[in-house]
Symmetry: D2
Subunit: 372 residues, 4 copies
């Protein structure tokens, strides 16, 4: 590790977008791996805010010096010690003009100036689609940048493994385990929403292990009549209760009657996919229906062993990539190997659930209904 | 234990009402303690259904012989191996008359006949208010009956300790821990509903340990303006997010404007207390609001160590009470002792949160707002 | 809270002795309750070291200013953010004399000077027997001191409730749950050691909920032949495996043959109670024996909901006690109330398991063997 | 699924060897997938015992009819509802001859007769090396057999994914998290043993996520002086404590002095790898040392979401393999696909930790010492 052809002396780390369990583990591994190479490490608070809005941080100018003592115990902690932000894209930063109108200003040059002012040689930027796009822009402006992908939905084509997903899937499974008991004693249909706007991985991989009877995915538009029919046969066989797992992005197939849709409309204004399904099912089956939205619960908590390991691998790989002179790339894990993907090839490429993948075949073998 | 003055040779056990973690531990302890006294033990399926609707149980006539092997491993399991029912009070059992109208029939004599037919000397009946009232009725008809109280809300005056409450409080705390992370990264107010229709114990004893900022209880009608004011000051001090814990039975104080109430109306039709609070708060604060209803998640899962112990104590105490010749009583735990409470003195006596109890004083010292 | 007759402006908090889950919750509640009264709050690092060994703390002189931001998220964290020490009683502090011999020096006057130098008006000292004794000494020297009891073993007579115990009991129960599976598939006797040098509360209240077959307590000297006999009958009845839970302080009854004792000697040199029991049992039963010492695992981890609540109550009560002008006392919880116990009446008064308490009666009803 | 070219009408399932979390999920998926194909399903109790020792099972002849109701709730349960056995290989079954000597008898023909008697068309055999070898033998005798691999150590070359490993790794990580606290407050070196006789996967993938300082693997013979040196430097840098994770099969390098080995000898008689390392380290470092053997705790408990999914995939794949006419093969998962491996190519082929794999590179980047 002694030979540092990269010439790097000081790096910065930031985290952007929504939370995902494992962010702190990436920070720890990147920090320790960099310190072990003799580099200095700075954390930027709240996305990029810490570097261009120092006035908001009277105590520390928005920067946190990352030492071994600061990071040594953070691996098991949820959230991110650097803070994050899902507002205020610095390239379209909302400001008031002289007439009091809100206008969007590109403040990326101020951020570049901040990096020069702090003598930061390179940036490790951990985040989702938006953050990685910003990383790409800074790379094009000349900053050395390595991205680390963060997608709790596991829906990024460029990397087979991400962190956060296993924690989300595990806690969803635990929650659905618990719902069985109360659903059973009240002979209910319990409809459970989990994250997954574009891809149904969490719904699928928490629904199968938790013995769901129906799973509705963004990848398979559902016919509510098929779902109702499945549930009726289910109860006719003497089953006591049913669990329906619904991904955030599940949508009815085109053929659904507009009447039902209208009925569902009121529900949707307050809720999401789970309320729509409940409203649609209400008149089609006799059993009591209850809904639970687990979405908010799945981003928190201590990362699982697997997510910690994945996150630590990402953090260490990002430092190695910088050492090797890489920039404008994202580290990815395609087991058992690490590889680098150009940042401009990452954006917008989704990893959906392939309908013929073995996990789907297993679900069909178990008699799970997908509404198709 | 050899000297069984009670003359009991065979007992039955049943479970009624909604689920509570620990039911199986009561069944285990009662079964083992009875078997150790040389008694035979029978479980009745689904409340009282198993004893008067044998035709519904083609396999086993609705009765499950309870042996050591059947119960040895059930302590950690959620739910109840006997099933429960929250329908079909056998004293007002819904049946069709000759004209096809649904009428309510008192079938308790059939149940008494069932006990005689099965040569059951005594019954241990585990359940809530409704089940204990039925137990009382059977006691008055001459059956030897000992009740075991089941109230996950911890709201029964007659017993200081109940089972299920600690599991509910613990899992609620764990869930709220997780909500902090996502609330923080989106700078949200997260409103969380927990069980507690008449008493706020779960809200209070999960809200304090999980660092809630506001807790709304059935015992303290809340003024939404006071809540909004508290939250505004909270954010003005630089706090990143807020957690509001709402008991199922929380109600606004009389003075709340009817306009807000009407606004909240729509929400209420779909949801409960949590939706009302969200609708009321929406126009009073700037931060994004999200709601989670944890109620359905809190009745399931493996009972905590404490709930198992409490449930085992109840089960063993019920057998000792029968051995001592008791009937028409409920066992209660008032630490460190067990005592017996006449069943006719149990019903309808709630244990509310006393507003000056030390737990409330602690909450006030921590700056928690109760909307008063 | 505005009226502060106590005249206090600044308090200090420290933690002493071994870890217990909940220490951080005490620190949080005491800090917030004090800040809400307008007091300043200082944490002393590593027991009393931070106040008399500033040279060891080049960064902060051994003192940590406790603000709302420092404590707001610490309730769920195991350990103590202030550090602790189970060495270096400052009243018998080991130092080298001029000849190089280690001698013990009373440095309490230096600590008193430290309190004066820092203008600390009062101390909240959280700790076990040793720490509370030191608190008592400082009270006698004129410092205003309120103690908070810390005993994971739950063995202090002066307080019915302590923090840490529920977390220890819960995790021990979870571990023993897991041991059943492997014990069963190998038809083993699994001997499990848990903490409890003088009192068997953890052994009793984790052993009963986890379906232990034998529990050995400090309070009941065991006859190994009775244990072996119980296990033989157990297997003769067709049981597949057995779990023996042993408290750290469990001792054989006087009548045990010295031969077995000698045999056990070798084991003891390496291990503790669990190795002694294993060595004694080895020749008396046929089944394979394995041992696990859970002791080290039970002090860590996030505190349970119950332990957090208890710890928060202690912290808030300590501040109220200071506000009321108390000193030289320890806060205690005797549900549902708080009371104050003079520190000079606390030391050495154990709360053993009463042999006729209801929990013991339950255990006997369940057929658990205590070796007596 | 209607077209069953295989002609199968009835299958049997059994489980052999030590426990692994997920066995019940394999049983569930295989049962449901087979029932959905119109097949009958029988479970054989206790490995092969249930089929050739019916006299040991007075209640049910050693066979358990597997219906939907029997399996519907077993996915989350640890252990196996069929029982297992790690004794009594039926091909070398220990029996007494006429002179009273124990001799080993091949009883496989009796088992084949049992299969014919019960009209079992095919067997799904879930187990480790030994069980899969037996499955191979029965396949050669003409029984249709599909094996399902069970190896909690994750050390089988033929399949990238196994069940049980993730649960073991996760609980080991949680335990080591807890050990940090107590190690820190006593400034100790805590040496932790985990499973892994031939491969260090569990040690590696629990040690990295739990911030271990040293990890000793079967794949890397360790030099105790290098370990001691690493720990000394660690404490010299001001670290408060250290965690050493040791795989069951970790071995010192050849060069270790025989003296230390002899010293360690006494320890080894009672314990395993962890005691050897403790005995070797004792004289080389100053800090207090404590040991914990987690091995026994890692086979139990409810399987993680990931292990459930893997196990369900195995169970469903085994049924599909039988339907496709396969026999004498083992199903394997090589993500995202399933494949079949001939049983005669499975045995004895280990999957060790490759020393240059990315996980190892990450560990080195984090400064973890492997004693080399």
């Amino acid at each position: 590790m002694a030979n540092n052809a990269s010439g790097i002396k000081k790096i910065a780390i930031n985290t952007g977008g929504g939370d995902a369990p494992g962010l702190n583990a990436v920070i720890k591994a990147a920090t320790v791996a960099a310190l072990n190479r003799g580099w200095e490490v700075i954390g930027i608070r709240d996305g990029f805010n810490g570097i261009f809005l120092p006035e908001n941080y009277p105590d520390d100018d928005g920067l946190l010096k990352l030492t071994y003592d600061v990071v040594k115990e953070i691996t098991p902690l949820g959230g991110t010690i650097l803070g994050t932000t899902n507002r205020g894209n610095p390239m379209r930063y909302p400001m008031k003009d002289t007439k009091g109108n809100i206008v969007e200003i590109d403040r990326s040059d101020e951020i570049m100036a901040g990096f020069r002012r702090e003598k930061i040689d390179a940036l490790i930027s951990i985040g989702g689609d938006g953050s990685l796009y910003m990383a790409h822009c800074f790379a094009q402006k000349g900053l050395r940048v390595v991205g680390v992908p963060k997608t709790i939905d596991n829906d990024l084509e460029a990397t087979v493994i991400t962190f956060g997903f296993d924690t989300a899937r595990s806690f969803a499974t635990e929650c659905i385990d618990r719902l069985h008991t109360t659903a059973r004693s009240h002979r209910r249909v319990m409809i459970v929403e989990v994250m997954g706007r574009h891809a149904g991985w969490i719904a699928l991989e928490s629904g199968i292990p938790s013995s769901a009877d129906v799973i509705l995915l963004p990848e398979i538009p559902y016919d509510i009549n098929i779902v109702a029919d499945h549930l009726q046969k289910h109860f006719a066989k003497g089953r006591t209760h049913a669990i329906v797992v619904v991904a955030e992005g599940a949508k009815p197939a085109g053929g659904d009657s507009s009447v039902i849709e209208r009925e569902a409309g009121k529900a949707e204004r307050l809720g999401g996919a789970v309320d729509r399904v409940a409203a649609q099912l209400k008149d089609l089956i006799e059993n009591e229906i209850r809904t639970v939205n687990l979405g908010h619960l799945l981003r928190g908590g201590s990362p699982t062993s697997f997510d910690r390991l994945t996150a630590l691998r990402f953090g260490a790989a990002a430092v190695r990539a910088l050492e090797e002179g890489e920039s404008g790339i994202m580290v990815a894990l395609n087991p058992p190997d690490v590889n680098y993907v150009p940042l401009d090839q990452v954006s917008g490429k989704m990893r959906s659930v392939p309908l013929d993948t073995d996990v789907m075949v297993t679900a069909r073998d178990l008699g799970i209904c997908f509404g198709d």
